[in-house]
């Protein structure tokens, strides 16, 4: 199995830290000292565990999470209905566009779903057209009209 997909072995302190820090970290000069108090530990121990979790890739990133719209670009979600026999070729064609941020295979007639992130709205159109020309398939382009919630919480 893909190594990224292996389930990590976690201590009780690891679990407490993962659950607490997904919600948020206090914004102050020594945030881990405050976190340590909440989990009955010490600042040094908390930092050591977090460094370990990051090295083991249990935590991928740690810090401010920005709303992508403020990063000054344009985004959309798009999909293709790819014939099974062409899937590998089309994956390569789509991924070759540097503006493709995420791409997932999903169980549906539309079996390839990807996020396009660009510097401008015009560039989104160009990428959509580029993908259609390269793959010969019609892109389903569904930009968000309204956002209700974004925030992942996975309790352990």
């Amino acid at each position: 199995m893909d190594k990224r997909r292996e389930v990590a072995v976690l201590s009780e302190l690891d679990k407490k830290l993962i659950n607490l820090l997904q919600h948020g970290l206090p914004v102050c000069e020594r945030p881990f000292a405050q976190v340590a108090e909440q989990v009955d530990s010490t600042e040094d121990e908390v930092i050591a565990h977090l460094v370990d979790l990051k090295e083991r890739k249990v935590l991928s990133r740690f810090g401010p999470m920005f709303d992508a719209v403020y990063l000054g670009g344009a985004f959309t979600l798009a999909a293709l209905a790819v014939p099974e026999e062409d899937f590998a070729k089309v994956t390569e064609q789509v991924n070759s566009f540097e503006q493709i941020a995420h791409n997932y295979r999903r169980t549906h007639y539309y079996n390839m779903w990807f996020v396009i992130g660009t510097e401008s709205v015009e560039e989104i159109e160009q990428v959509v057209q580029g993908i259609e020309e390269k793959t010969g398939l019609e892109v389903l382009n569904v930009p968000k009209l309204k956002e209700f919630f974004v925030g992942l919480y996975l309790p352990v």
């Binding site: 990224r4 997909r5 292996e6 389930v7 993962i18 820090l21 997904q22 919600h23 948020g24 970290l25 914004v27 102050c28 881990f32 930092i47 460094v51 083991r56 890739k57 249990v58 935590l59 991928s60 990133r61 740690f62 810090g63 401010p64 999470m65 920005f66 709303d67 992508a68 719209v69 403020y70 990063l71 670009g73 979600l77 994956t91 789509v94 941020a101 995420h102 791409n103 997932y104 295979r105 999903r106 169980t107 007639y109 539309y110 779903w113 709205v121 989104i124 569904v142 930009p143 968000k144 009209l145 309204k146 956002e147 209700f148 919630f149 974004v150 992942l152 919480y153 996975l154 352990v156």
Partner: protein
């Protein structure tokens, strides 16, 4: 809100985003490194962080876990065809469910795509995924749109579906480019 708002940031705020978007260092005083890089005081960095958070530019300061390492092997994009007049109210209700990580209203493209509400769920087993989908369905059951199947189209028209991910084909972060680099 559209996906392409251009919100004016000060040049210092842009520098702050570039300095922190890859994450904060895991040290006792993580904001000191940012202060040094931006050539401002730690107090200024902390007040800027709080201000950006209040303005919604920072969603939160937090840790991002790897789903798979925590045992969440499945992610499902549940999609729903709900009546337009109820979309905002019910979209918000679905977004408020604790197990929904992303929830958006998106355009339909009839007849090939009839779903306007998207809600992402995560689970450890296929059974758990179906259970989460059922909970959303219970909430939306009175506002789901029933459409007549168009047999001339080779696409089934249902009121809802769940598109489970079976493979990551590409995953890179969205980043603000450092234009000075």
């Amino acid at each position: 809100m559209s996906e392409n708002n251009n919100i004016a940031l000060t040049s210092l705020e842009r520098e702050y985003i570039i300095a922190t978007q890859k994450g904060l260092p895991l040290v006792a005083k993580p904001y000191h490194a940012v202060a040094e890089q931006l050539n401002i005081s730690v107090e200024q960095v902390l007040s800027m962080t709080k201000d950006l958070q209040e303005r919604g530019i920072i969603r939160r300061v937090a840790a991002v876990p790897n789903h798979y390492k925590l045992g969440y092997q499945y992610n499902g994009m549940t999609v729903w065809d709900i009546s337009d007049e109820h979309a905002e109210k019910f979209g918000q209700m679905v977004g408020n469910l604790p197990f929904v990580s992303h929830c958006y209203l998106r355009p339909r493209f009839l007849p090939k795509w009839n779903y306007n509400l998207f809600a992402m769920v995560h689970g450890k087993t296929p059974e758990e995924m179906h259970q989460l989908r059922s909970q959303i369905k219970e909430l939306l059951k009175d506002v789901l749109v029933e459409r007549n199947d168009d047999s001339s189209q080779n696409i089934p028209t249902q009121s809802n579906d769940m598109l489970t991910s079976t493979e990551i084909l590409k995953k890179t972060g969205l980043r603000l480019k450092d234009k000075t680099a």
